[in-house]
Every structure is written in structure tokens, then in C-alpha cells.
Symmetry: C3
Subunit: 348 residues, 3 copies
């Protein structure tokens, strides 16, 4: 059989390493498309002149563009037969990526847990994205619910990994060159608010909303070479629970991050992903809003140029976030689609 049927739960072995296809040189073309798809306005990623003024060799690519490209490669091997993308943890952005660099991804199977009904199981992987010199640019864990091919198949070894509740700020220092924070021009950046202006517990409604079109999420998901067919095939998805194409969860993350500029304009670089959950699906025609809470603030050992905000960004669909839709009892307000807990750098 020449086509890739994808792996089923019983095909994974604890500790095995999977080298994913396709290595990908990320270019200014990808960066422009990323801007067209989400409209991010962070000055560092938008302007070579701004980035150089504070100490970068030139504007870095958006961290989430890097994330999506690294993630996309894992889909044919990890989630082609997945029923759900259950969560993220221990994500670390370790090195800025520039246009022209080539990214590839390797995943290690760090956990396997069969479901009690023996029809599915949870696969836990740690995926590592590297540049062409072999240096790690991003590492993160995710776990997905995967179908079994043969319900009777037995699993050699099971293990449920435990994850840190939050990435230690001390592990995030390498992601950023040392900055000249005095040269960081807040007029050009779009907001006067620096590290010290944010306080734990503060909540920000990002106000703006954006309605998503089929063409947009399809362009994005193909750009990331993510092949999950639920995003592209309107005919086949008619037979699914939702009856239509499902939007790639990462598309929602990028929309929420771009919306968060309005309130977090200087939190310009992602440092780590502590936890993430796609609470409900998004479909074309829906309008996305977002709000954020400052869960914590932290200084970075040995650095007085930047601080870290631990943010929780919640995205909702078809409902303004003025009322901060959130968890409710065991679940969530029905409008909530994303709950993402992450660290972001912000100049001091």
C-alpha cells in the first residue's frame, strides 16, 4: 500500500522516536501570508528596523507560525486517525526563527493509555522542532485520542506522563536575544504598557472580533502542510458528527493571539505554553473574540531587559468577550472554544 493510512493506537511503542516528513524552509512569503491570515501587529515581528533597534538581527518569524509548521509535520504520523486533540503542555520556544531557515520535527512517544472501552487510546508525544543546523527552536507535548485498528490488540507498555503545571521561567531565557529595552519605542509598538504595568489577576477584553471564512482556514492549514482531512473535505465531513469542515485548532490560537494585541501589544514573543485546550470546535461563518487574564508575572533570572507575563487567553465564538465567558461548573460557557495558558515576554 503506497498511501499513508496513518497509525492506529496499537502501532505506537513507548519511547519510540518518529522523524516526520516534510522539512520546510519558512520564508518571507509565509510571514506575509501569516499577516494576511490573522493581522498580527506586534512591531518586532513586523519590522526589521524595529527588531534591529532592540537587538535582533532582523525581524523574527511569528512564534505561532513556527509552532504551526512544526506541528503540521506531526499530523500524518500522530493525528491522522485521531478523534480529538486533548491538550498541550511544556511548550518552550527556544530560539527565534528567521525567514530562510528550514524546520523539521521529531516526536518521541512519551505516554500511551488505552481507553477503558479498548476502542481508542491516548498517545502522548513530545515534539521537537529543529532548524537546519539541528538546534531546537521549539519543544512541546501534546496528547491525542487515537482510534485502534483492531479493538482486540494489546498494548506492550502503558504510561501516563505527568506534566509541569507551568514551565519554569528559568528555562525560557534562551528564546530571546538580550534586548535594548530603552530602544523599544512604545509609540511604534502601539501601547505604553510595559512589564510593570500588568498585575496578576488583571483581565483584559480584547474587544475586536473576526469572522472566519472557509478559504481562510484552508489556506492557513495547507500553508502549515497539515493534512488532517476534516479541515478540507466538505463532502466526507457531511457524515461526521458536525456535518461540516472543522477548523484547525491552531487557527483559533493564532486568531486569539492576534486579537490580544489590543491590550497586550508589548507582549511580543511567546516564551512557553503551560497548558492548552480546544474546548469546542470552530466552523466557518463563526466570529471569534478573545479575552485574557494575567495569571502571574515573573522576572527572568539574570535579565533586566524583559519580564514574563503568564497569560490565560480564552477565545469565544459568536459572543463578545465583554462578559469574560469562562469555565462554568464542570464545563465552560457554551461560547468558549479555546483556553490557553502561556508565558509571553514583555519589555521592562
Amino acid at each position: 500500500m503506497k498511501t499513508n493510512p496513518g497509525r492506529f493506537f496499537e502501532d505506537y511503542r513507548l519511547g519510540e522516536t518518529i522523524r516526520h516528513a516534510t522539512p520546510r524552509t519558512v520564508t518571507e512569503g509565509d510571514a506575509a501570508l501569516y499577516t494576511a491570515l490573522y493581522g498580527p501587529r506586534f512591531a518586532v515581528q513586523s519590522s526589521d528596523a524595529f527588531a534591529r533597534a532592540i537587538g535582533y538581527p532582523g525581524k523574527p518569524l511569528d512564534d505561532l507560525l513556527v509552532f504551526h509548521v512544526v506541528f503540521g509535520k506531526t499530523v500524518p504520523d500522530i493525528s491522522l486517525n485521531a478523534l480529538a486533540n486533548l491538550g498541550y503542555a511544556e511548550g518552550r520556544f527556544l530560539k527565534p526563527v528567521k525567514a530562510g531557515q528550514t524546520l523539521s520535527t521529531v516526536s518521541e512517544v512519551i505516554g500511551l493509555k488505552e481507553s477503558s472501552n479498548r476502542q481508542t487510546g491516548v498517545v502522548y508525544v513530545r515534539s521537537t522542532g529543529s532548524d537546519e543546523s539541528g538546534e531546537t527552536v521549539l519543544s512541546y507535548c501534546r496528547w491525542v485520542l487515537v482510534r485502534k485498528r483492531d479493538h482486540g490488540a494489546t498494548i506492550a507498555e502503558e504510561h501516563v506522563p505527568s506534566f509541569a503545571k507551568a514551565v519554569d521561567p528559568a528555562d525560557l531565557a534562551s528564546a530571546l536575544p538580550r534586548l535594548d529595552a530603552g530602544a523599544y519605542d512604545t509609540d511604534l509598538a502601539g501601547s505604553p504598557h510595559r512589564f510593570a504595568d500588568y498585575a496578576k489577576g488583571e483581565r483584559i477584553d480584547h474587544v475586536d472580533g473576526t469572522t472566519v471564512e472557509e478559504a481562510e482556514h484552508q489556506l492557513a492549514t495547507r500553508l502549515y502542510q497539515n493534512t488532517a482531512k476534516v479541515h478540507f473535505d466538505a463532502l466526507a465531513t457531511r457524515e461526521t458528527k458536525f456535518g461540516k469542515r472543522l477548523i484547525y485548532g491552531g487557527h483559533v490560537i493564532s486568531i486569539a493571539r492576534a486579537l490580544s494585541f489590543n491590550g497586550l501589544a508589548n507582549a511580543f514573543a511567546l516564551a512557553g505554553i503551560n497548558a492548552g485546550r480546544h474546548v469546542a470546535p470552530l466552523f466557518a461563518g463563526d466570529t471569534v473574540y478573545a479575552w485574557s487574564e494575567v495569571l502571574d508575572t515573573a522576572t527572568v533570572p539574570g535579565r533586566d531587559d524583559v519580564g514574563l507575563l503568564r497569560l490565560r487567553t480564552v477565545a469565544a465564538k459568536n459572543r463578545s468577550c465583554a462578559g469574560f465567558p469562562d469555565r462554568e461548573g464542570e464545563g465552560y460557557d457554551p461560547s468558549v472554544i479555546l483556553d490557553l495558558d502561556y508565558w509571553a515576554f514583555i519589555p521592562r
Copy 2:
């Protein structure tokens, strides 16, 4: 408050200068997207080889891409609370922009006029786009109708500026390197018609039409980092007069300009904008057509390589321009959406 509420009419002061966020490096990626969004076919902007043959260092970016990027930055400070974009004047394209350059925008408030109902006022600005070396690439005036926050607020100083009916051709010479007009290959450019072939009063129906999709104008408007929410939020715009997303007026200008290639293929560079008006709104699903009239022709002092055509390009929706839909009495034919008066360079 961390989010940007936008300025209201009483927040502006005559003579003040506003430095806008976000500086933006414009790349080959943006140029490719611009081609995909509008399909322009002007040889100078399409081909490094063609551009070099006539004296450019390489292909310049499309003038309107530059315009939209420079314009987009002004939106959060000038038109977030605007009710209408009333007009343009005194636009001058002063320096060609290449991929890799970084654009930023500063606006000066040159006029303020409260409306007689005291609920709104007109803000006049001169916006100046500069490259990373600080040289001006584009300057233009526009005026917008802006809401007041407090209807009782008083305005310190009012002034209504007067604008030249047309930019003086003598002020436009710097926008273009000296060209080797003999090396300008009209076969490759797509039309044999040079400066001398156009006459004042001539009208051209550009024939072709293009239907606009939501995904297209949203991609374009985000590419320009234009944040006006009426272009993106289908849910919030349900409550507006039109009940749906409104397309950025600059999108219409770019469509009309690209359509105008069919008849004006050698009028390859914009030199100045004399006057412009968005006569009626455009919505997704509408089909745009355009026609042009040669209002005037002019030589450029000291240059025998190029001449200038003063053109009036009119765009209409859902009606072919074979009948040249135009002003009618006090208003316009109901199909008309754009009336733009500008200077364009054309080889002699």
C-alpha cells in the same frame, strides 16, 4: 484601560503630530499576495528584468500596496471611531519602494471642523509614509467624519484647510528614476499605447469585472494591518445600517487600478492623487467594473522620458461600465462606488 478605544473628535488638536504603530517591512511575500488579490499586470512591478532594463534597480512594489500599508497604520489613531471616510487630496508618491524596506507613518492634524449637530466633526490629516532611512515615500491628505465622545465637549481651535484641485506635475518628478524609454518594450508591457496616444477627454471602458469574496478583502485588509472592525466582524456589523461587513475602500481602489490595465497598460506608476471619494459601499458578492477618463495630460519639467496622464477612474458595482456610469445631478448613478482623480506616469 489597556485596549485602544480610539480617539474621538474632541481628542484631536490642530497642528498635533501622531506617530502611528506598527512599522512594517514590506516584502516579496506582500507583493505576491498583492498580485493574488488583484491580478495587476503592469510589467515594471511584475518583472525585475523589465524594471532593470528601463533604469530601476529592480521591480518596485505596487504604489497602492505602499499606500495601503501607510494608510493602515493611521486607522487605530484616526478612523477607529470614524463614521465615514470623506475624501483624499494632495497625494504624492515621492520615492519608489522595494521589497525589504520598512514603512512607518506619521500624521499631522491639519484641520478640524465640528458638525452643526455637535455630535461629530471632520478631522483633516496629512499622513506621511517614510522608509527606514526616514525619507518620505508617500504623502497624502484625507478627512474623516469622527464621532464625539461627549457631545458637549468644546473644540479648542477649528480650521478647514483648502486643497489644490490637482497636484502640480512639477512636484511629482522625484517619484521615478530617469527611464530609458527606448528600452521599454511595449510587447512585453501588453500595449502599444504611449503618452502621445492618449488625449484629454478620452474615455476607456476597462471591460473586465471581478466578483469580490469575504475571504479576499479580509486577507487584504489584514495584510495592511488595517484594524477597522467593520471589515471583519459579521456579528457586530449585523447591527449596523448595512447589516454586514463593509469592504475597505482601498480594496476597491486596487481592484479598479488592476482592471484599468486593460486600456492603460503603460500608465505603470502612480504619481499623485488629486481627489478621491468612496461614493458608495462595496460588499462581498458584488462584482466590480471600472472605466477611466483622461482629464489631462502633462509633461514633467526637465524630463523627456515620461509624461503624466491625469486620469479619473470610476468603479461601479453590479453593472458593466460599457455605459460609463457617472455623476447624475447632485449625486451619482447608483452603481458607482469610487471616483478617483490621479496622475500616472507613462513612457513617452
Copy 3:
């Protein structure tokens, strides 16, 4: 008349050469858009690092991006008044194209045959795409059914050319640098199957499907500066046989090629087009599937690094290709939209 009315059948002369507008520098921006539009995952075109490891100076542009750009230029001169794009033959990809190169196209009229009703005629052209140094990168023949302006007009000279059933593999060697096939990493490429793993007669269902949106095909077709109005004007096409916009046939070819990765991941470069036919039209909202048959395999004289697969890729709409929809009697299964016979290189 300043606008291009297109040529009619009686305007062509056997043997004449037409230099087409607009020369076009193809960039990383175009390559990124191509990825976003179709999602191809061939490692050689995706990764500079991968391409260099096997002997390319860097990643080449996708062969079909080159094809569409070369083809697009011919539309204003060849097919503006065409009723149908009848076929392709003798296509040869002769030189890899990198980002930054400038493509132009010349066509020679190699055949003319008036229809028996004297209202139309078939125009046969050989179109040649060259880079900025004048070297041919692509050559192919196509024939189109073109309207006559004046049904009474007489044709000076008629001729029906004959085409080779398939391009001779010996004529295709120049398209590829000599590769280090041992350095071709099949893990990164996404499939272990090399030349020897494919056998004549083998059929592969490419499994995946993709639903096409209006915005997508319009963006693609404009990117190629293809001006055929049937692709863009929803209002004018209401009066046509189909009542709606028709998708550029080349868009279908690119979709089918990208889908074919799943089964043909190492057949990374197109070498020649033997025959091609757009069997039925595609419209927005349709879902495209594809399957391929290995018609033949061939070695390339003097080269032990690569072999050639002669493939026939069939695309269908709104029907999975699990059942291999194909020719039926005189015609085709009603789902079939494309029947393309081509040579592709694959490492040995």
C-alpha cells in the same frame, strides 16, 4: 481602441510568433501562496536543506507554479475568445526555476483548423517559457477552440499538427541536476517507495479530498496573471451555459498533483506532459479527489540517480476515487474532470 478585444480565429497565421506580456519575476512569496493554495508536501520543493543535500543549489519552485505563470501570459493573446481548452501535448520541463527568476512566454502558431460550421476554429500553439537569461524552462503545446469574429472570413493556410503520444524520456534529462540519490532521505520525504517499487499497471487511490472555494481559485488564477473573465465575473457568467464562475483548469491540475503526494511522495518533479484533457468543469463548492495509474516506467539514458514514472492522474469531483472513476464507453464517468498523462522523476 485601447483595450484588448482578444484575437479571433481568423486573426492567427500559421507559423507566426507571439511575444506575450507580462514578464514575471517569481518569488518566495509566490511559492508560499502556492503552498497555501494546494498544500503540496514534496520535500525537494519545500526545503532548501533537503534540496541541497541531494544536489540542487536550493529548493526549486514547484513545476506547476512555473507552468501556470508561463501559461497565464498566453491567455490574453490565445484564449480570450476561446470556447474550450481542448488539450495539451509535448510538454517538457527543461530547467528548474528558483525564486527570483523572471519568466516570459512566446507562442508559435503551429496549427489552424476551421470548424465545419465556419463559426469557430482550433488554434494550435507551442508555448515556450524562458528565464531572464533566455534559456527555455518549459515548452508545451496546447490547442483551443476559438470563435471567429466574422463567420465569412477565410483562413490563409490550415494545418493540423500531429503530436507524439508521449515525450521521449531521452528528451527529458536536462530538467534535473545530477542527484545524490543516496542522500535522498525517504523518512523526511514521507514515503519509502522509490523507482523500483512502482510497476506498470499499478493504480493508486490518493484518498484525500479537498473542497474548493471561490476565493481560493480566484487568488490562484490572479497570481498567475491569467485574465480569462469566466474565472472572475459572477455577474457576466450568469449568462453562460453554467451560470456561474468556472475554475481555471490548471487549478484542478495543481489540486490533483498535491493530492497525489499521498502515494507518490517521491515522484517529486514533473518531467513532461504527454497529454492532458479537462474532461468537465469544476465549480466552487465541489470536492476534488484523484487517483493515478502507472502507465509506464523508464530509465533516463546515462543516469542512474533517477528514473521516470509515466503516470496518468485522473481527478474527479464530488465522488471519492476509491472506485477509480474512469473512461466509460465513448466518454467518462460523470464525476471525472481531469485526465492527465505525464512523466515524473523519482529517485532510484
